[in-house]
């Protein structure tokens, strides 16, 4: 298919551009051990990646992206700092939209660098923006680190904060937890009834399964303790609601978030990082004044990003997935690094979509 060859040529060209920017070209296996990906993403990944298996190696996944293998490779024997680029097929199971591709080429650029995260963020974003020049795209940006900092600094128990942190990327469950922790929604009746019993562990049904009676007793204790915890204050809740709703051009968003920081001072360091990033972007000639910033951006689809996040979308083509996406994933390196960690940021382009948009523009 000539179109396929053209897309491949475009991918090679993009990777060469990233090599010229200082990245080392790397390869990754198409088959990845399923266990690592399942541990990271949970069962949800089975809905998005193809799983296959053999009797010797067990379950394998057709790589759904390059980030995990590239991080593993870097953590195993990478020198610091490092820049990598790659181009190759990724495979995504599609169960809802037959028009979405289940196999497409990604070209990526990843930076592992401890020195200057703001500068690294700006470098990735600027390189991707340059590669996309000429296409009519809208950039969306956000920073999941601000919400994470806000949650970690809430005046409530560690258990509640851990529950919220676990669901940062699941907005509905996150909201349900917040509503309960703030007393906006009463606890479920079954829980109230359980805690009203003098001894919920009296006359237990037969003990079956791996979860022991001791674990059940422990959770009931935790629920009792949690029932005594005062609700998250209206002031903190109002500030969180304002934070989550911030959607402005970057300089205004920063202003709004500074207002939020009056009630949630814990976000100040994250805001300093945002400001440094905006300066670094401006220094690279990007139009920061008109850059969109959305505090909730990236919470539903970008599960491992924990700081700066971005995506480029085709104007007038809301049916298309983003043409490019990226972000910071410091925590992922921690989880894959066996104790080691390194700040990392990266982004990917989809030459197939770029090619289609270019052709559309020419037509």
């Amino acid at each position: 298919m000539p179109e396929r060859a053209e897309i491949r040529a475009l991918a090679t060209q993009l990777r060469a551009r990233f090599e010229a920017a200082g990245a080392q070209a790397v390869e990754a296996s198409i088959l990845q051990p399923a266990e690592t990906l399942l541990d990271l993403y949970g069962e949800n990944i089975r809905g998005r990646a193809y799983v296959t298996s053999d009797a010797l190696r067990g379950e394998q996944m057709l790589r759904p992206d390059f980030t995990v293998p590239v991080v593993q490779m870097h953590m195993a024997h990478g020198a610091e700092p490092a820049r990598y680029t790659y181009a190759g097929e990724v495979f995504r199971r599609q169960e809802h939209d037959p028009d979405r591709a289940n196999e497409y080429i990604q070209v990526g650029y990843e930076i592992f660098d401890r020195e200057n995260p703001a500068e690294a963020d700006a470098e990735v974003f600027a390189l991707i923006a340059q590669a996309l020049e000429g296409l009519s795209l809208r950039a969306a940006t956000g920073d999941i680190g601000i919400l994470m900092a806000a949650v970690q600094g809430l005046r409530t128990t560690e258990a509640r904060k851990a529950a919220l942190m676990r669901h940062i990327w699941h907005p509905r469950r996150f909201r349900a937890l917040l509503d309960r922790f703030s007393g906006r929604v009463p606890p479920p009746p079954s829980r109230t009834a359980l805690l009203a019993q003098a001894d919920p562990l009296a006359d237990l049904p037969p003990a079956i399964g791996k979860r022991s009676v001791a674990e059940i007793a422990e959770r009931i204790e935790a629920l009792r303790a949690d029932a005594e915890v005062p609700p998250i204050s209206d002031r903190e809740m109002a500030a969180l609601d304002t934070l989550l709703a911030v959607r402005e051009t970057a300089p205004f968003a920063l202003e709004r978030l500074r207002d939020v920081a009056v009630d949630l001072p814990q976000i100040a360091p994250a805001l300093a990082r945002l400001e440094a990033r905006l300066q670094a972007l401006a220094a690279r000639g990007l139009d920061v004044e008109n850059l969109d910033f959305e505090a909730s951006y990236g919470r539903t689809s970008m599960e491992y990003y924990d700081g700066f996040v971005f995506g480029f979308y085709a104007e007038g083509r809301p049916d298309l997935p983003p043409i490019a996406t990226g972000g910071r994933y410091d925590a992922l390196t921690r989880r894959l690094g066996d104790g080691a960690e390194i700040p990392a940021v990266g982004g990917v382009l989809r030459p197939g979509l770029m090619h289609a948009l270019e052709r559309e523009a020419r037509a």
Partner: protein, 232 residues
Amino acid sequence: MTVKLGVPSKGRLMEKTFDWFDRAGIRLKRTGSDREYAGAIEGIEGMSLVLLSAGEIPRELATGRIHFGVTGTDLVHEKLPLWETQVEPVAELGFGQADLVLAVPQLWVDVDTLDDLDAVAAAFRARHGHRLRIATKYHRLVREFLVRGGVADFALVDSQGATEGTVKNETAEAIADITSTGETLRANHLKILSDGLILKSQATLWKSRVAQVGDAERATLERFAERLAAVQ
């Protein structure tokens, strides 16, 4: 070409399907020996009977190899993610009622909702070093239900039969399975979560939206529809 009707090839589901069509004056029967899956239709011209496993009927409908098929809502929803575009329900047959539910040990007195299950899954993974296992054969439906409900840290393990026994055998911590009365669950010391109903299912007559229909078949389809209208 004839209009093909696919029905389950054995058991009570087959018998009840035969009874249901009988009331419309359409006689389905197996032919040949007991072991041979061949059948015939009497009482309507231009139709032929295909005996299939209930689990294969969704796929046969989706590819258009049969025009009509009888199988459970659960199987259609599990096997055909885009079922609305591939098949259309014609009639609910009023038998084979079953609910796909999520059940945990009765012992878990602290667990009644998905919210509880999610909290327990997090603690379980921290303690045992693996995700909380849920045994099922309805992988897609269960996964989507749990993800929608915001449950994390679970793993689905495949169980094609005797699913209720997996908890006692410690190959799973919870199950998602079809139940009609809940009796088997109770007998195995399991309980259904209060918000754990994943899907209500019953035997249903489906029409393929993709099967080829020529002029000859169209007349048969009309006759078939008239007969069906009479029983509903």
